[in-house]
Amino acid sequence: MSLTEILRPDERIVLSLRALYESYGYRKYNMSEFEEYSLYMENKNFLVSESVIAFTDLDGRLMALKPDVTLSIVRHSGDSTEERVYYNENVYRPGKAKRGFREISQMGLERIGRIDGYAVSETVCLAAKSLYEVSHDSLIEISHMGFVGGLIRALGCSAALTCELYKLIGAKNTHGIAETARKAGLGEASISKLCAIPSLCGEPEKVLSSAEALCISDEMSDALCQLKNVVSSLAAISNICKVRLDLSLLGEEDYYNGIIFAGFVSGLPARVLSGGQYDMMLRKFGHSGGAIGFALYLSELELLFAPYKPVYDAIVIYDEDSDPAELGRYIDALSNGGTVYPCASCIECTVQGRKVIYFGKDGVKEDALC
């Protein structure tokens, strides 16, 4: 049986993405399962969840089973280095119902160093190609922290109000935005601008045109300009998913600046990809360069694939008194031409096959499916 025939859909996706990332000059990054616990405690806001599995290592250090990959890559990269790496790693986080930790498989890439307009576009393009590889019925949504951030800064909102508005905007909670902004004493014109953000989503041209009308600062205009550049770069690329903009898509403002994006696959209930430019995280580590990357949550893709139920070319029911060497030779020869499932009795056999072969002292007998 050939490799391509035996690969399961998730395995095929991983190998295809490896080929994709390596064709763009990314190298595989291998990491340890453990990191120092302090890394995550000092960067709690970047994590999906504050809960981390910790243990005391043999040398007395408090370690953690990594809940995130990006932090490790940034921490171990030097300042002024150019890194283009991809990874396929497991992380450990609480499940949605928070009843226990889960091992979550994710694949992604990080680009650290000089992040210019092309680097941003290329990263978003690779995210869009990754989604297309998973499913042709997928989409990427792109936003820019500078648009909403720029508006909130131009309106002079306090840190507490900013934090509250980010949550409400992210939830498209227009009535909540209006109520909170009104309570904070913002004028109706400002409230109207904030309330318009949740509806700035959909076809890029339509969104960019509506968003321009809301610009009240250079920061907001620059954000739209960068978005336009990314959108027009993507328009020139083949084999990518559908592209949408959603200016209410926001990331953690302590870490993300610039472009952020999320990926969705039709039929799956939550985002399967997250990414963005995170120069601010590098500053926290004392680095001067920029960084951009994304993670594809392979564990979230399980629901896409039908349960694995192989159908074997042959089920071989053998007599327990059969000569093991002779049986082994027979099975080996059969397996060179297809898949075979040796079994001591019909009762034990719980798999499906295309034919049944009885192997016993009296020889070999082929039969129809049992």
């Binding site: 949605k96 989409l139 949504e141 939830a171 498209k172 909670n173 227009t174 009535h175 909540g176 989503c201 959909g202 949408r244 969705f264 039709s266 799956l268 209930p269 939550a270 985002r271």
Partner: protein, 206 residues
């Protein structure tokens, strides 16, 4: 086809009658039956009759594209969904209540009985008040009467139940009403359908 998680009870009935008038009727739903899923292919709608506290779960996990849930249930669940509209009905308040004349001794840990463990914990954490949470599932008003707790955190509508049990509201801290919520991924692929339904509901609840 949009799948709508409707809470069983008064709230679900009110929202269904709005949707029915807006062209999202499902004739089967008028019949008294034990069915939980109702579909009208022509109208492009499927309804799930769901326990009110489960609506955010169905929507967050994509079993329903949209749903109707009280703000109390939404906040308590912490579900990561889009909250697209305040329907403006089912109004009540989240409040702290206690026996008449109760005085809080801040030297002691406050015993708080509630169905809303997350809401109560967050509220008192914001006040820096040390509490002992006593999770209950019903007749919460009984807790301070029987000395099980000092106070309760519960929803208050008319306040009649509190008065009849010699309790009073100490503080109201959250306005509650019914909300129209949507699964974030569904919103990306079915935005037009969802916004159309939202528009009909918004028009009807003005």
């Amino acid at each position: 086809m949009l799948t709508v998680a409707l809470p069983k009870g008064r709230l679900g009935d009110s929202v269904y009658s709005i949707l029915e008038k807006a062209g999202y009727a499902c004739p089967d739903m008028d019949e008294k039956s034990r069915k939980l899923v109702f579909e009208n292919k022509e109208a492009g709608v499927r309804y799930l009759q769901v326990k009110p506290t489960d609506v955010p779960v169905y929507v967050e996990r994509g079993a329903a594209d949209v749903g109707i849930a009280g703000k109390d249930i939404l906040v308590e669940s912490g579900a990561d969904v889009y909250e697209l509209l305040d329907l403006g009905f089912g109004k009540c308040r989240m409040a702290v209540a206690a026996k008449k004349g109760f005085e809080d001794d801040t030297d002691r840990t406050l015993r708080v009985a509630t169905k809303f463990v997350n809401i109560a914990s967050k509220y008192y954490a914001s006040r820096g008040r040390s509490i002992d949470i006593i999770p209950l599932h019903g007749s919460i008003e009984l807790a301070p009467i029987m000395g099980l707790s000092d106070v309760i955190v519960d929803i208050v509508e008319s306040g009649k139940t509190l008065v009849e049990n010699d309790l009073e509201v100490i503080e109201e801290f959250m306005q509650i009403s019914a909300r129209f919520i949507a699964n974030q991924a569904s919103f990306k692929f079915k935005e037009d359908e969802i916004m159309r339904m939202l528009g009909e509901i918004r028009e009807a609840t003005k």
